[in-house]
Symmetry: C2
Subunit: 190 residues, 2 copies
């Protein structure tokens, strides 16, 4: 049985805590939805912020909503070199001891000491897909992308939840290196 | 027998024809050596040029010498998006129908209609290494890079010559996606 998953390419983006939403956009501010994402309930917000590292800045980074417990900026390694932010490769949510950044919004500025990561590539599985294919949460998979820059990604982390939709998330460096685009099919080979 | 090759990461760079060296730097100008490269006789020059595409520019692109028959700019796909230059993935030297760019030097400007490529990943083999491992010129190989972002590159082109030194060339997107750095070891697995 072929285990095919759609690819989703993640450009740099930020998740904000509600506290930081208000520090950046004003007291009581609520993020507004620009468009829904592949994961149920998640959305790209209309709002953007600027982020600044020691060597460079990005003036317009998309916020993904809804607000989360902790603020987390996800950048590519290319972005890390451009900004001088020494972001480690981490699974989303695992931000302890990661890199810091200064975030600027229309109503204020926030500097965080940790929260900047290069997201480890991963696949979101709905529980039903994972069961069908015998895949466990946190299992490390090998996933092949075809084409002229075809390659096999190792260490792709399985994340299983009844609230997930099947989708493999890679960053822009991984997309550019493999030639994969959002909507392309990838195959779990091990 | 393990087939291990050193990785060399190529940042964006340009090769110039002598005609273009003179158009950009002045009549009779000769490139000067900044430091030697891994391939015998090749060098990074002290000279740089600016390159401009429809959406963006890079002010300082390193020239690699000596001068070649045809001018060729090698960029990553990230660079291609940043500049708006629609560069195809190509083997070095195969520039027919590739993308154009405007190049600016201290003494002039040149616009080429073709010559901009995203270099296809490849391994330079000295003839002796290729014979020892049973590898043919132009053979497509699978090459594994380990580590937290470990992956297997497919379609890695073998280039065999008595004037080559063993070295696998990947671009900055491929380096960032795999975590590989210049000097790391990669393994030919197929």
């Amino acid at each position: 049985m072929s285990k095919t998953v759609p690819v989703g390419v993640s450009a740099r983006h930020i998740h904000l805590s509600q506290e930081h939403v208000e520090a950046l956009f004003g007291q009581g501010y609520q993020l507004t939805e620009f468009k829904p994402l592949s994961q149920p309930g998640q959305f790209a917000a209309n709002e953007t912020v600027a982020v600044s590292g020691p060597k460079g800045s990005f003036p317009k980074v998309r916020i993904l909503g809804p607000a989360r417990k902790a603020t987390q900026l996800e950048i590519s390694r290319t972005d890390a070199f451009a900004t001088g932010i020494k972001a480690p490769v981490r699974e989303s949510g695992n931000i302890s001891g990661s890199a810091g950044v200064t975030i600027t919004g229309p109503a204020g500025e926030v500097t965080i000491e940790e929260g900047v990561i290069v997201a480890a590539r991963h696949i979101h599985f709905h529980t039903d897909d994972a069961e069908k294919w015998g895949i466990q949460d946190q299992q490390q998979l090998k996933v092949r992308v075809g084409g002229e820059r075809g390659l096999v990604f190792e260490n792709v982390i399985a994340r299983v939840s009844p609230s997930f939709a099947l989708d493999m998330h890679i960053d822009t460096d991984e997309a550019n290196a493999s030639g994969a685009q959002t909507g392309d099919a990838a195959e779990i080979i091990d």
